[in-house]
Symmetry: C2
Subunit: 234 residues, 2 copies
Amino acid sequence: MNGKLFGLGIGPGDPDLITLKALKILQSADVIAYPALEDGDSLARAIVAPHLSGGQPEYAIRIPMSVKREPAQSAYDIAASQLADYLKAGNDVAILCEGDPFFYGSFMYLFGRLSDQFETEVIPGVSSITTCAAALQAPLSARNDILTVLPAPLENDALAKRICEADSIAIMKIGRHFDRIRALLGDLNLTDKARYIERASMKNQKILSLSDVPADAAPYFSMILIHKRGQAWD
Amino acid sequence: MNGKLFGLGIGPGDPDLITLKALKILQSADVIAYPALEDGDSLARAIVAPHLSGGQPEYAIRIPMSVKREPAQSAYDIAASQLADYLKAGNDVAILCEGDPFFYGSFMYLFGRLSDQFETEVIPGVSSITTCAAALQAPLSARNDILTVLPAPLENDALAKRICEADSIAIMKIGRHFDRIRALLGDLNLTDKARYIERASMKNQKILSLSDVPADAAPYFSMILIHKRGQAWD
């Protein structure tokens, strides 16, 4: 009988922000799998390391970092095939997903390749977006707010249009787009309402005003939150 | 010395979807507080009931359900004042918040009244939106998707404009607005891409096609997710 596939949301970085449900599956799965750098470490594995006894087989899903689509898609084909072998042998496989599996996660690529063939359960996790809001002490959205989540790689025109039409905005995956986004928010007169945070809930979490972020220094795991109401929460 | 205020995200309903961090604070806080119906039960308390030993003082925050703003705001003034008394007496107070405290949560109203006077920490939780996506086995957003979260009480024109401009849409707080929203999605030719779910992760979770939801029967805790890519996830 085939094993079961789990997309396991492990939360944003603090090992204690994993759920009880994910922890139980993490510790009981026959095989754990996680995304990893092509020749290096896995952030996902590092997040759950305090919870692992070390006795489980592990599989690193190594995906080349490339702007091109094909190399990554080929790597996902190979990973899916190897994970399918574990599943066909009757092993339950838990794929670790930073944050939530279905919120801008690469788990989608394996889900698309495996969920038709194998029983699949997705365990939601605490996402980066609400973790950033909590760390910034700034409500993300309330009442009838329109909340829009925007990936930073989008072009300025697309970003500006949605920013103008929402009450609350989260801009994700800032990284090398920071300087452009900072200038755009200045043009839109939103600098004062924008809050910047890096690596929310991790040991090296950092909160800075937009003007204090050095040029070209924002990591991929950074986010800008903007609420047009500002501090008026009551 | 004053106690500390916690906004405690307890997750969407399944008691096992609480985080380790929230669980520790839940079990160690001097006082737990939670929203409750004016003369009835508290869903938040019911969610965490399996984790409580029963020895902690509890405070029910009773807020009148009203379309008018003033009665609720007065009730929050009174609750904030009574919680402040606990805090001034040196008690750590944990306010239980369904889902995440800063994602469309009423915690905002107490945060606005208390966080200036008392040390406050917000513990993010698993939100309803990713829980619905997980239960529906439908990725919420990926790659450079624009995700927009819309409260159902907004008017049709406002909803339609944002729905047309996003890749992925979550419509929250459906309740009595269901029939109008279903008709709107029909007009926008999105019925086939819309997924409906009630009470995600709770024991009485229900997934239906839009056409199978009886008129006037959607509860407040229901959501519609729409992804324009449909099932093309790889």
